[in-house]
């Protein structure tokens, strides 16, 4: 077998050196009745070409040749081929967690650079080496707020990504947290009156997302004010990181939980991605996940090592701040390379293109009779429109033109029966947008 570097002779010689007559002898500690006496019933072994053939066949059964207007937490952005050229290097791809700092300086310095970029982007003082994704980063941010405040009530805006809220619920059930939802206002932002009414001195955190699930930008300053007036922390989740190329970062937030997928990671049917937790220096000892720190070696040279590890599972065991063991190192590296490639101006230009194209798309859709804009607060690259009929019906028609239509908001928000969340990025051409608008118009002209 091509992955096994042993010849039959070598196996024989090694067995002889051990003093065993057969390989079976080495498994004698497994009681015989539990040892399998026939091979597993798995598909027959494939050569490299056959493996590629299998996956190409699966690829052909997916969405080839379709143009998509989906966002809702996973975004199509340009990715440079340079990123893959770097992350595919064996020294990055096949290296272990950098516990032995002397022979992992490459990984450690890259993590340090990632932490720096994420702090700069989010306007926070410190960021960790990544979490599994935006949804678990948001949950960890809430648990962190619980530890910091000693309180158990959490107010979560309903305009936070539905799946992020579901994940929080799963974790909250067993930690004594009481999670309550705050409704959205007519313009799609958090209903500040409702938030104010719910605020008391027992709230650990207020959780919002910006831009939120409807695409709308929240007033972080005002929300932070409300939270801080009761000594609660403001957690801001960010699902579309490219927005930070154009929007003021949430500096007033106490903890930011961001999904970094938009920075150089392919959609890949939902994963793997990388979550980011960013916060204030004074909270760093309550921050879960890995951290790379700058230090010096015994000869005074700058180097990097994992630090503040006493928060982590391998030392504190049941008193750990979290049970997270891995970070998403390779994904974080992809984000780091991607952002270095884009640089200050490139990220800004990408963000501007997203916003301009989304505005253009909104303009084209608004011309269609019966289509109206919902939630008219400022947005970045996603916005909500209301159709005169069910979005599912419209989308079914769009598929015929090889267009994957907008996200059906009615699924997670039953009251938004005809609302669609449209996402436009720099990868969407003007032609595609015009074709999309034309197809929507045509779909709405069909008898139901």
């Amino acid at each position: 077998m091509r992955y096994l570097p042993k010849s039959p002779d070598e196996r024989r010689e090694m067995l002889a050196a051990i003093g065993a007559k057969s390989i079976e002898e080495l498994f004698s500690s497994i009681p015989e009745r539990y040892r399998l006496n026939k091979p597993l019933n798995l598909p027959p072994a494939l050569s490299e070409a056959e493996i590629i053939g299998y996956f190409k066949e699966r690829a052909a059964e997916n969405s080839n040749g379709y143009v998509s207007f989906l966002g809702a937490g996973v975004y199509n952005h340009l990715r440079s081929v340079v990123t893959d050229a770097i992350i595919q290097r064996g020294e990055f791809l096949t290296s272990y967690t950098p516990y032995q700092a002397e022979i992992a300086q490459g990984t450690l310095q890259a993590i340090f650079e990632f932490q720096t970029l994420m702090s700069q982007l989010t306007g926070q003082e410190v960021a960790n080496a990544s979490m599994y994704d935006g949804s678990t980063a948001t949950t960890e941010a809430v648990l962190m707020a619980e530890r910091l405040t000693g309180r158990q009530r959490v107010l979560v805006a309903r305009s936070v990504h539905p799946e992020y809220r579901e994940v929080l619920k799963t974790y909250a059930k067993h930690s004594g947290l009481q999670v309550e939802e705050i409704p959205y206002a007519a313009n799609g932002t958090v209903d500040e009156k409702a938030l104010h009414a719910a605020m008391r001195n027992d709230v650990a955190a207020v959780v919002v997302q910006s831009p939120n699930f409807f695409g709308v930008i929240e007033s972080i300053n005002a929300l932070a004010h409300e939270a801080h007036a009761h000594e609660a922390l403001l957690v801001t989740a960010i699902a579309e990181g490219v927005s930070l190329g154009l929007l003021r970062p949430p500096v007033e937030a106490d903890i930011v939980a961001m999904e970094a997928q938009s920075f150089g990671m392919a959609p890949s049917y939902g994963g793997p991605f990388a979550g980011v937790l960013a916060s204030r220096d004074k909270f760093v000892r309550q921050m879960p996940g890995r951290l790379a720190g700058q230090t010096v070696d015994s000869e005074g040279h700058r180097g990097f090592c994992l630090t503040l590890a006493t928060r982590e599972q391998h030392i504190r065991r049941e008193k750990a701040t979290s049970n997270i063991c891995t970070n998403q190192a390779l994904c974080a590296l992809a984000a780091t390379v991607h952002l270095c490639l884009l640089g200050k101006e490139g990220l800004r230009e990408m963000a501007q293109q997203n916003h301009s194209k989304a505005q253009f798309a909104l303009g084209e859709l608004a011309k269609i009779p019966g289509v109206r804009r919902a939630f008219d607060a400022p947005f970045f690259n996603e916005f909500t429109v209301e159709f005169p009929r069910s979005v599912k019906l419209v989308n079914a028609q769009l598929l015929r033109d090889k267009i994957i239509g907008p996200f059906v908001l009615g699924t997670p928000y039953p009251e938004l029966t005809k609302h669609a969340l449209v996402c436009v990025t720099e990868t969407t051409s003007r032609k595609d947008i015009e074709k999309f608008a034309g197809a929507v118009r045509h779909a709405l002209e069909q008898p139901i």
Binding site: Q105, E113, P272, L308
Partner: protein, 503 residues
Amino acid sequence: MKDKIKKASRHTNQSEGLIFEQSSPGKRAFELPPLDVPAADLTKTLGANHRHEGVAGFPEVSEIEVIRHFTRLSTWNYAIDLGMYPLGSCTMKYNPRVNEFVARLEGIATEHPYQPQELSQGCLKILCLLEKCLLEITGMDSITLQPAAGAQGELTGLLLIRAYLEKQGNSRKKVLIPDSAHGTNPATAVIAGYEVENIKSESHGQVDVEKLRGQVTDDVAALMITNPSTLGIFEQRIPEIAEILHAKGALLYMDGANMNALTGVTRPGDLGVDVMHLNLHKTFSTPHGGGGPGAGPVAMKKILEPFRPVPILIEKEGGRLALENVRPDSIGRVKAFSGNFGVLVRALAYILAYGPGVRQATEDAVLNANYIRKELEGVFELPYSLPSMHEVVFSDAIQKKNGVSTMDIAKRLIDYGFHPYTTAFPLIVPGALMIEPTESESRAECDLFIDAMRSIAEEAAKNPELVKTAPHTTRVRRLDEVGAARKPILRWKPAAPRSEAAD
């Protein structure tokens, strides 16, 4: 002594500062196609939300600088592609390149989790086949591919147990964890809302079955066991352990980190395990990438099936596959979307390469570990006599007599061109050397490792200072971890402007 170091030699490699230190305004590494719609009037559309300048401090460099920067950094790393990682319980095996290729295919890497399910049948078939293969390997009835890593898999497993017991009327209070366990086990139990009760191992690091009998009360929800144990020894009495737990209505959770010793040879489901997680980045070859991403699927017996996290893969009429997001008894969602799909693709590619012959990998892994054990027995102390499976644990007792610890030996191993073995655990063996070669190591690489370890043992006896101050040939020497923890510097900051510095 210098000729004893055969696998590594001195080498000139490039220095490299932080990318921010090379930044200069106006440099760019990436250009976008021109904007093909009118530019938005940002004052109108964004108002106060508009960030007027680019992100402060963001790098401005050219493409070649990015390539050189990260290429130089990469040369400072050790990696599986360079040689063995003898890390116990990490299973650092070869990461097949075809796995990388197929994960990047157009139509695989490009799919959006919310696209219509009829346009995702390829993705769903991949999930379906992987589920079937992992069930066959583990001998279980049902599985979830959602958890993003082993630790998250453990949490999911415990939440499944909790949900099952709750449905029976009493979720119970405690989880028993052997003192030999990996640190994620107790951390996870607490997050799942349970108290941790330690169970002491007997002299060979196995679960003490008589003690267990006494400790399993009606308050115990489960025992978390690793098999083989973290000493690399098969828990022979595991079926008995399962019976003791089941008799009291408790369940047996197995940490699947050491599955590399079992695949194709025995199945946890047959041994009485109720629920277990797998580490795809260990047993199933998905790359560590410097610390992630991984995936931690959880396989379970039928009784736990109704509680699986969403989404759940189902088969509809006509063989169409779909993901279901609503299940009344589900523990809920553990992660957004549908698992680390890219990692799952790689694991399936690995399984397809081996087919039923995957047993050979297990045999080679166990062969390598036992070969190393035989060759180093007597050179290092073996704290127990039971047979090892895919990993062997020695102790530094012999070397400690000269003041040389396992940490010192590990650091000196670096000079010989290897990554250290695991020193930090199992906690029940003081001064442990936990060595797992995996099946990916040739006899030649194993011999180089054995020679290196023998040489270091000799150095520990004749020249202990050399070992205690190692490594000597790395790019950086031993780093000041104390300073890093006392005054953490966790990001780059631009130098203060001159006038401030002068004050």
